[in-house]
Amino acid sequence: VGDTLKSVGLDIGTTSTQMILSELTVENRASIFAVPELDITNRKILYKSPVHFTPLLDGSHMDGDAIRELVAREYRAAGISREDVDTGAVIITGETSRKENARTVLQALSDFAGDFVVATAGPDLESRLSAKGAGAVEYSRETGKTVLHMDIGGGTSNLSLIREGNILRTGCLNVGGRLLKLDNSGCITYVSPVLQGLCPLTTGERVTREQVAELARLLAQTLEMAAGLGQPTALLQQLLTEEAEAAWQPPREGCVISFSGGVADCIARDFDWLEFGDMGPLLGRAIRESSLCRGEYRLGAETIRATVIGAGCHSAQLSGSTVFCRNVALPMKNLPVVSLSREEQLDPEALRRKLTGQEGPSVIALPGFREGGYDAVTALAQSILSGVGEHPLYLCLEQDMAKALGQVLALHTAGDRSILCIDRVRLPPESFLDVGKPIGPALPVVVKTLVLER
């Protein structure tokens, strides 16, 4: 029987807000005659909230007080308090005002999210979480197929290309069901600014089903281009989210397309076009009739809840089980990553150069090595010590060597100097790291791609 972590996932989008509470089981997979090897062996969802409409002040700004109320209610409904929560993620999505909204939400939730390891994520992590939450990653791993997963929400579509269960790349498009909102008489109440130049419709105008369907087809076409099923035009460029890590490369190989998000429900089923007061039903229909659904496609095991389940169940991972930690107060949040390549890791100059300009503490990510024995570890420690200066010794390695390295660093520094040395975690450049309180000999970590304030 292993330890358990209680994890909360909150997905606050411009359309809907959802919460789940899950329990992650951590077990030692190694025998008692070997060095421990902890792993998350089970993820169980204890509570799923209903899908709420996100309280908004205007078209795109969230109402912090109302969100606090909502989350407080859901905490009570789930029967948990702040102290029970070990880890989790709040994902703030939406096509506009992401940063302002994230700030509002962070302030509003400071009472709850105090011990959360992660507070906000970027579009890259969001795509990963929705692909995992929808079961697309598992499907790809089990079948060996390449899968293009699209989580089509209210404001954005998160894309992930998955091969053999590995997420190769992610992207984000401003395509969603609520870019256009209507009242029940067919009058437009909101047009998203991202549609500027694409759609002649304006707020207050009465529209026909066919007019909205035409816009929906245009958006579905953009998704086709993103899936590599049509020549990319300026349209694709225009609708790519600016915050995305790199320009989206449509896949060149044939792949299974998988859908989640609120719009996914409208692909499988026809609703009245005014059912939800947005273009979701027609967008779903346009996707079903597009070439996206002509080949092999599937709906996620979870659709509208994919992202929140990803946030609750898949945001935390475990470090290796032999790590070194001295004089470090955990949890630590939002550590920016300074990456050293295989060649740079033994070059103190490279480390010094990369650390200048870092204001607060950051974590040094390096690949490490398996060869070379203890002398190589000592050499690495010496190199790091001469390059690191007064900067805190926070290190994250890919290879299993953190405890040995940390130990050498500790021997050669004053006894009160903070050292955190973890391994078996790969940190992409430009990312941020959260480290939670230890669970057994390992540390739960969350790697994210966007943070707001330090």
Binding site: S31, F33, G144, G373, V377, D400, M401, K403
Partner: protein, 346 residues
């Protein structure tokens, strides 16, 4: 199953073997009915009825004709000899240099990429293909080579200058040779007077921690891992202000030799790095056995073990750092082995 009486059963079975749609499934139906019939015997069937039923069943079954061994004629002509273009003095490629995790020999595979990825996760000999009902030549050769390497690891010696080069005193147990070592485990756990004296003079005072390096069943494991692991243990102990003491090397060493060293030195804890019995995966796997208050006759359950220390398992350096912490814990709790786990669980 619907048959409640033997009559019903018989009728059902007759129906099953005669009705065309059922004909394909009649073996399954027969099995179901047979199970039911067996259950019924306890209720009302007598011996005669049972033997009648068995006779019926046998009648219904098509007994396959017996084939005599001599009648078997292979239709496959088998592999033709291939011209290898080898000349005198050439070497054939070394089979032990192939990475088994990348070697996939199945012909006409459905999804070789997927299988290769599976193979990367295990040292097991998967996807070896076959020649008829047997191994392929390459598989067979590699298997034999690995087996030979395992045997060599047992029979070969740690180099004579190993202890000296690494600043350790060398002693040996009562064994005089590898053969004696393998056939007399009892002698591998004790020392004669001369070696006891040697231990005594090599180790000053009463150490708290005594590190012992022993060849055990794999000399290759010790040559490959012991020193890296030892250095990491030493630094780890220093960091925790524990004197790592003077390590000692024991030839023809079994785990129990640590108990005898405990008797001689009076140390509080022995940590022995010893070569594991080699297998077909690796011949270089090392273990650490940590015993609190070691003495002759100490229970095996009092040992804490860290096994699988080798390049593909836990790297020696990282294992050393882990062992140092473990030693610290054991010294603090004053218990090792099963007791330590029980205490941790309580």
């Amino acid at each position: 199953v619907f048959a409640e009486t033997y009559g019903e059963y018989r009728a059902a079975y007759r129906r099953a073997i005669n009705d065309r749609p059922y004909i394909l499934y009649r073996k399954t139906i027969f099995k179901l009915l047979f199970c039911r019939a067996i259950n019924m015997t306890g209720d009302f069937m007598n011996k005669q009825e049972l033997s009648r039923m068995v006779a019926d069943i046998l009648e219904g079954m098509e007994i396959p004709p017996m084939v005599k061994g001599g009648e078997y004629k292979p239709t496959d002509p088998g592999p033709q000899p291939v011209d290898t273009h080898c000349q005198d003095g050439d070497f054939v490629p070394d089979v032990t240099e192939l990475d088994l995790r990348k070697l996939y020999l199945v012909e006409q595979p459905e999804n070789p990429e997927k299988y290769r990825r599976l193979k990367e996760r295990t040292p097991a000999r998967l996807g070896s293909g076959r020649a008829g009902a047997r191994y392929k030549t390459l598989t067979m050769l590699r298997f034999r080579a690995d087996h030979a390497a395992a045997q060599d690891a047992v029979f070969s010696q740690v180099p004579e200058d190993f202890a000296k080069k690494n600043g350790m005193t060398e002693v040996h147990t009562r064994c005089e040779s590898k053969d004696m070592y393998l056939t007399r485990p009892d002698l591998g756990r004790t020392f004669d007077e001369e070696n006891r004296q040697k231990i005594h003079s090599a180790i000053p005072g009463t150490p708290r921690v005594q590190i012992v390096v022993g060849d055990g069943l794999s000399s290759a494991a010790i040559t490959a891992n012991a020193m890296d692991c030892l250095k990491a243990i030493r630094d780890g102990l220093k960091l925790r202000s524990i004197d790592p003491g003077t390590p000692i090397f024991v030839r023809y060493c079994r785990v129990g030799a640590g108990d005898a060293i405990g008797d001689v030195t009076g140390c509080e804890l022995v940590c022995m790095l010893v070569g594991e019995r080699p297998g077909l995966v690796t011949d270089k796997s090392m273990s650490a056995y940590i015993t609190y208050r070691p003495h002759t006759g100490v229970s095996e359950s009092a040992r804490t073990v860290v096994s699988n220390i080798h390049a593909q398992g836990t790297p020696a350096v990282e294992a050393g750092a882990h062992i140092a912490e473990l030693i610290d814990t054991i010294l603090k709790r004053k218990v090792s082995g099963v007791g330590l786990h029980l205490e941790a669980g309580a």
